[in-house]
Amino acid sequence: MTTILAKTAAAFEIQTQRPPARGPLILPQGRVRKVAPLVGGIGLSLEQQRQIDAAWSGPVQKLSPEQALLVESHAAYSGQTALKSLSDWHEVLHTGQLATLNGAFALAWQSGPENLLLLRDPMGERTLFYAPCGQGLIFASSLELLIQSGLIRRELNLEALTRYLSYAYLPGHETLIQGVYELLPGEKLSWQAGLIETKNYWDLPPAEMDLDPETARQGLREAIEMAVEKRLPAQEAVCASLSGGIDSSLVVALLARLSLRPVHTWSVSFGKAYRNELPFSQAVAEAYQTRHQVLEVHPRTVLYFLDETLALLGNPIGDPLTVPNALLFRAASEVGPVLFNGEGGDPLFGGPKNIPMLLALLYASEDADPVHSTVQTYLQSYRKLYNDLPQLLNAATQAALPPGQLAADLLPWFEAGAGKSLVQTLMTVNTRLKGAHHILYKVNALSRGLGMLPASPLFDSDVAQWAFRVPPQLKLMGSEEKYILKQAVSDLLPEQVLKRPKSGMQVPVELWFRPGGPLHREAKKRLKNLARYPWFNPVYLNQLMAWELGGYLPRHGLKVWILLSLEAWLRHYLGPP
């Protein structure tokens, strides 16, 4: 491996694809997911029912007297039994064994004229949105479909707006549209004659402090192998994204071992001018003989596809990787139906957010309430626009917001972890918020639009259960992140990959958007449009584009990206200012 690392660039021929900045994101002859999304309504007036029947045409699974059970699933299991047909699902529902469910699914079941059950999978691999309509309720797999019903008033939810600005995703039930909600992962919603009740049917287990490391290592390894195997396509070629980090490398290593068909892998680069991790991904590709391609995404391409990407997403995600992710799904769709990724390693096994939080608490004032200071630090640790809200939002918007809402959202999570393990609490919060609402949400929404299925085996609920049962000190071992995960796959990955130091590969938004950067002018134009919506302070937006926010690390580029994503979302979902 050492020699591979040293020689890769010269010896291993890599194909580079450069998607041009023209044409639509979704190609007319593109792939379509075999399983259609869900839509439906219950308890509606005749007029409303007629309206949704007319609005929802095309490839959807629609709730009707003939179709009382709708399921959108991929690699779904009850225990070790694959759920392949509707009768399998009926059996699970009738026996009520919801806690044994695993895999990606969204489900709607009308068990009687006045009873509807909505279910979302344990980890949040699929989505389900709903909106109360008078006495009734409508639901759909995506926000776009729910709006298509014509029964939604497009009004902005201001509290949700501050959440988006603070996290760069929406961390809970509420969407950016008033009155529209998202079912949480592992949650079931019962509608009964106009009454809505939501309840968790699945939860992450607590740590077992006396769990033997060897048992943990073996159990985890088996769970990961099983999770990969369950998601393998039956006939077609296997596709995977490969960043060169441990998580995606271990998934590729297992695919190469378990799949009988060739494995195709992709890495993203932003051009030669910026730092990249290509030597690592290329070394792994060479080691496992995958058919590797580098997707070279240029700044103009990213901005060109931003609008369409945000339209696909539904809930906005202000992550600069959204467009490259979408282009990767598009590239893979020409090869196979499923794209594997290594997502999940960070939140489940003690990723990079833990150490700054740990430091914040080590240095917290002795007089401060630990729970409150942890909540504040957690909000700040996202390093998005939380600290900028008083300058970014205008006075009227701020006056309309209830004070302390963002901290109040988080308090239950951290109060539950008070006095217990910090790392375990952080993992819970990260998995349930960022894992479900950012990472899994993003890959599901983008892949759906591009006709693909995402496969995130590390986010498998069995893997997650093992991850949570392992004592936190075996996940973050000293300063070594993901220790037990590395132990579990140590025979798959060469030591050089397992022990590689962190490098600085990030999306170069700072260089793209700064004055004189290739996207500065276009970004300025778009943020001028954002300023025309009634909630923002134009002075702040001007300072941001002039790179004049001040402070130790102002992170102008990232903030510009979050706001550009918001502007694209507002235009698509709410209309022009």
Binding site: T2, T3, L5, A6, R275, P279, F280, P320, N354, I355, P356, L358, L359, A360, L361, L362, Y363, E366, D367, D369, P370, V371, T377, Q380, S381, R383, G417, A418, G419, K420, S421, L422, V423, T425, P472, Q473, L476, G478, S479, Q496, R500, P501, K502, S503, G504, Q506, V507, P508, V509, E510, L511, L549, G550, G551, Y552, L553, P554, R555, G557, L558
Partner: protein
């Protein structure tokens, strides 16, 4: 002098009672009555140390900023060409006027007598000026600065949230946790790979207040055992880490320059890799006008030239003399670049040179920000 409130310029005689003739706002300082700064100069210094109200800063940093401005103003006052032209014309003018008045008394000698007197005064003045401007010593007394600061706080800005306490010890008091508040049980079970070790506790406060530890994922401690709250626990935690890297920052002083050698002792971090990013006498030329008299007996320090040893006998230079934004940026760049060097060397399978390109310099470059987290 310009009013901070309405930005109106006014003459001394118009500022009756020390108030702005336009908006009646009281001026904080009055240079005509002996204050060293105008309101606008003080405000400009505050703006710089706080990076337009976005960084926390220590009073010492404001002190050095004002001293730097004072040094520049005093030095600017003497332009060599201006002094020569002014001196010659002044001399002729003085000679002519003096000789007109005195010609009756001293006949033809009056002009030369006047010139003689003039030249002696001029030479004396020049010597004094030369001594003052060439001295690298700071020309702002700490008590005088404090008096100015207190006055600013009384009249202009009673609440200065970004201004850190003067003495670090005052800030952190170990007190019993309020009942019902529990710390997480596993706080000391983990570790970090980087430590910033400072020679002064005030520097720890400055870095913590600006969240340097969170951004750079590093512990921060002072050599004298600060912060007291968890000092021993954090130190023991770091001693357990076989991959620890210590970045040392210190004043150019006998005490500061000795720390690097001390850290190899068994009670500190004998196993760690230590990178000295501190100030040394060789960087002092960039900080003329900010030197303070040495306050510790000179001791031989390994690695210093004889010239540097001599410098340390007379002077010390405080790290607080660097403007806060420049100091933070420089430290960040050094540490991030070091991490990249390590990662790149690893990718090349080359572990030859992993050292930092050390030592602080007063760099004003704005580039190098490649943290997009």
């Amino acid at each position: 002098m310009k009013c901070l409130n309405c930005r109106t310029n006014s003459l001394y005689r118009a500022r009756s009672g020390g108030k702005c003739p336009n908006c009646k706002k009281e001026f904080v300082f009055e240079p005509k009555r002996g204050d060293l700064f105008t309101d606008t100069a003080f405000e400009a210094a505050l703006n710089r140390v706080s990076a337009k109200n976005s960084l926390s800063y220590h009073p010492r940093q404001l002190y050095f900023e004002l001293a730097r401005r004072r040094y520049t103003v005093l030095n600017k006052a003497i332009s060599p060409r201006g002094a020569v032209v002014g001196g010659v014309f002044g001399g002729i003018f003085f000679g002519v006027i003096f000789s007109i008045f005195m010609s009756m008394l001293l006949k033809g000698f009056a002009f030369w007598l006047a010139e003689g007197l003039y030249v002696s005064f001029a030479v004396w003045g020049l010597f004094k000026l030369k001594r003052d401007t060439e001295s690298p010593a700071i020309r702002l007394d700490w008590p005088v600065f404090l008096k100015h600061l207190r006055r600013w706080q009384t009249i202009q800005e009673p609440h200065m949230p970004l201004l850190l306490p003067e003495k670090a010890e005052q800030q952190k008091k170990v007190s019993k946790p309020v009942s019902g508040q529990e710390k997480n049980e596993d706080l000391f079970d983990y570790n970090v790979d980087r430590l910033i070790l400072c020679d002064k506790p005030e520097m720890v406060d400055f870095l913590l207040a600006n969240q340097f530890h969170l951004e750079q994922k590093c512990a921060i401690l002072a050599f004298n055992g600060y912060p007291r709250a968890h000092f021993e626990e954090i130190k023991m935690m770091l001693q357990r880490n076989p991959n620890l890297m210590v970045y040392l920052i210190h004043n150019a002083s006998t005490n500061g320059c000795r720390i690097a050698a001390e850290l190899k002792r068994p009670e500190w971090f004998p196993q760690a890799r230590i990178f000295d990013l501190g100030l040394y006498p060789r960087q002092a030329q960039k900080f003329l006008g900010l030197f303070e008299p040495a306050n510790a007996p000179a001791l031989p320090i390994q690695g210093l030239s004889a010239e540097e040893q001599t410098w340390l006998e007379t002077w010390k230079l405080d790290l607080m003399a660097l403007p806060p934004a420049a100091l933070l940026k420089h430290l960040r760049n050094q540490i991030s670049q070091h991490q990249q060097v390590i990662a790149d060397a690893y990718a090349r399978n080359d572990d030859a040179d992993l050292g930092v390109d050390g030592f602080l310099i007063l760099d004003s470059t704005e580039g190098g920000d490649d943290d997009f987290g």
